[in-house]
């Protein structure tokens, strides 16, 4: 392979069940779930009352009172995860010209939580049509336009290279990292701080998913509410969180003796051009994205050791995705372990793609595949090896992670060991 390659050298994760990468991996490898009855607001009038919330104290994680006031919760997550990723990577950013360091933050719904709260105030509980500007907080513009998230991360690390927010709904977390990988490959940056963040657990988001019955009403048993691939699944559990990576040009990472979790070896995205929320059962477009990502990585389908699935736990998704794996990997789809960590940490919209990349990289690091929790009775149409209930020790050199989202976006990314032979 010629040209620049991209390595993951640092990981920072905030996920339900515990702040920090270590807590995250403990939860996944133990197969514990972090879903619970909603505590952020009174959910009693809602159809779905379950979520995967993070117990997060911004100031305890190093944000100042002004940063805490200025940033929406999702921006706070992004900055905290960024700091963990930087520390984890051991990179000395001041060894790089600031304009060679860029930032991408994925987010599906931006500062929804802040907007929801502020709208309630400026409209006086929905009473005013012409909302009252004299009650607006000064940083409301940063909620309006979520590129403020990328700005906050860039300020936190001193980056002055290409920076943006990638917002492709629920594939944002993969697409943000994919975009950053391209920038390093083409030579526009040497280091990218790339990841994604969403904090959508607020009344407006719960209400909009209620309206399309996308989230589960299983509030009598919230710990077991997220049930990907199970016959009893009836919707996803909304989550929140962030994951951020330090991506470096591989040779530079090697020169400084960095620990390399994985190479981002292939990435592709396609659209189903079908429906804003619905999926065709054949999975053709996701399959096309998978084929293209494997091609780019020059990895054969049978060399995929683990699939980190989108596995949202909606009726439609899990069948769509199962079909896509069979379509793209043929018989190997039946042999490769597939799992959905959304069974444990819920579906944090734009953030989850990056959180799942983190899980994939950690699976490679530990040679352990995280399980699909709550999977007791598989849907007969979901007939692959979904690693039910318990993590599995498994030689994991190559991981495929996928996402699927509103708007019809289908994305796939391949993580591999950089020292593999490149035929």
């Amino acid at each position: 392979m010629t040209g620049r390659r991209v390595a993951v050298t640092g990981i920072g994760v905030l996920a339900p069940g515990g702040v920090g990468t270590e807590n995250f991996w403990d939860l996944l490898s133990a197969g514990r779930t972090a879903t619970r009855g909603i505590t952020f607001f009174d959910p009693s009038s809602f159809r779905s009352r379950v979520a995967a919330e993070i117990d997060f104290d911004a100031e305890a994680h190093g944000l100042t009172p002004q940063e805490t006031r200025r940033m929406d919760r999702a921006a706070q997550f992004a900055v905290v995860a960024t700091r963990e990723a930087l520390t984890d990577s051991g990179i000395a950013l001041d060894a790089h010209a600031p304009h060679r360091v860029g930032v991408t933050v994925g987010s599906a719904v931006g500062a929804t939580m802040g907007l929801d709260q502020e709208y309630r105030v400026v409209s006086d509980g929905g009473r005013l049509d012409c909302v009252d500007h004299t009650y607006a907080v000064p940083h409301l513009y940063d909620y309006l336009v979520p590129s403020s998230f990328a700005a906050e991360v860039a300020w936190a690390v001193g980056a002055e290279g290409p920076s943006t927010v990638v917002s492709t709904g629920c594939t944002s977390g993969i697409d943000s990292v994919g975009y950053a990988v391209e920038l390093i490959r083409e030579g526009s940056a040497d280091v990218m701080i790339a990841g994604s963040s969403d904090a959508p657990i607020s009344p407006i988001t719960m209400a909009c998913f209620d309206a399309i019955k996308a989230t589960t009403p299983r509030h009598d048993d919230p710990e077991h509410a997220s049930r990907p691939f199970d016959g009893s699944r009836n919707g996803f559990v909304l989550g929140e969180g962030a994951a951020v990576f330090v991506l470096e040009e591989l040779e530079a990472a090697r020169r400084r003796g960095a620990r390399v979790y994985a190479e981002i070896a292939g990435y592709a995205t396609r659209s189903n051009a079908y429906h804003m929320t619905g999926l065709r059962p054949d999975g053709a477009e996701m399959a096309e994205a998978i084929r293209s990502a494997l091609d780019e990585a020059r990895i054969a389908p049978q060399d995929v050791d683990y699939i980190n699935a989108h596995g949202s736990g909606t009726k439609q998704n899990d069948r769509h995705e199962t079909a896509a794996f069979k379509r793209s990997l043929k018989d190997h789809a039946y042999r490769v372990p597939v799992s959905s960590i959304k069974s444990m940490v819920g579906h944090s919209l734009g953030a989850i793609g990056s959180i799942e990349i983190a899980a994939s990289a950690l699976a490679m690091r530990h040679n352990v595949v995280p399980p699909t929790a709550n999977l007791h009775t598989p849907d007969p149409e979901c007939d692959l090896d979904y690693v039910p209930l318990a993590a599995r020790e498994w030689t994991t050199d190559t991981v495929l992670t996928v996402g699927s989202g509103f708007g019809g976006f289908q994305s796939a990314m391949v993580l591999a060991r950089p020292e593999r032979s490149l035929a």
């Binding site: 929905g126 607006a136 000064p138 409301l140 002055e160 943006t164 396609r270 659209s271 804003m276």
Partner: protein, 404 residues
Amino acid sequence: MTSVAVTGMGVVSPNGLGTQDFWSATRGGKSGIGRVTRFDPARYPAQLAGEVPGFRAEEHLPSRLLPQTDHMTRLALTAADWALADAGVRPAELPEFDMGVVTASSAGGFEFGQGELRKLWSQGSQYVSAYQSFAWFYAVNSGQISIRNGLKGPSGVLVSDQAGGLDALAQARRQIRKGTPLVVSGGVDGAICPWGWVAQLAGGRISTSNEPARAYLPFDAEARGHVPGEGGAILVLEDAETARRRGARTYGELSGYAATFDPRPGSDRAPGLRRTVELALEDAGLAPGDVDVVFADAAGLPDLDRTEAEAIGAVFGPHGVPVTAPKTMTGRLYAGAGPLDVAAALLSMNDGLIPPTVNVVPSPDYELDLVLAQPRPATLRTALVLARGQGGFNSAVVLESSGR
């Protein structure tokens, strides 16, 4: 490396609906800025906007799409239809994975979201529409354009405030260079509703003048902020070789791009715009002397105007290149601004005419050769378009006439 050509454009601008109306207004110095009509702005300190005139969605789109779309998405879908028709492309006749969509957004379908937030807080959660789950979000235009036209190739959505529109076009170029022959790209934006208005006011950059000819005066000693607008442009970008083979007319090529981010507030390091311009020229393989016109970001605030004037001066020398800001006729269109300026620059190159910057009496301190009041005839082979987003985003695009 693969050359990337613009082969089609669809324009929805405050000073003209459709490319022809837009260009004849822009050449003629006709402004689309006026008092807000979409809601009653009486209670707000700012009351002017650039609203797209004469747009009746039901004349352009099927009724099935109307209940599920924000105003700016309807504008975007219409612009995309026009861009594809202008390019002579019928997507149904092309391989579906060979066509992608990359758009920029700033606030999504904010007016749609406002309506649903109001129902949520005044009536209850069960009153929120089934369409809220996507009608307001940032990815809505890429998704809807993809669905309406059957485009299954690589798609994307970028948010970098007003710089995002140029970032989207550059991402479209990237996808074409990676092998997708055609990408529909650009940005159409707008949040002219009370909730969007209040959020924009909070940003502190809105002019509170209520005189349409005095409110938005970039590079003028009287600069006092900008007027928000809505609209933008959707472009069809193609592998230039493929476009040539099918006999497509090309407006020009996107030959250079760069993006940077400014140092932290309070830093004594230099702002990033100058470097952005230099990197974009380097990417295009051009020298400053090759550039025939600059379409400025034109923030309309003294500090930001000075930063831009200094960057242009540092690269091109004092009065070293003609500079224009046709957005003085439209207001600032956020994610729509960059693509609309790219459309204007391409039309300028094809007409040999630089459109004017209206209403401005330039401050001599800036040492800019601003094209004022009247359009200026010129042979234009290369144009530079600048865009900046709140927070510190800087993007630049270089356009060259085809067949150089």
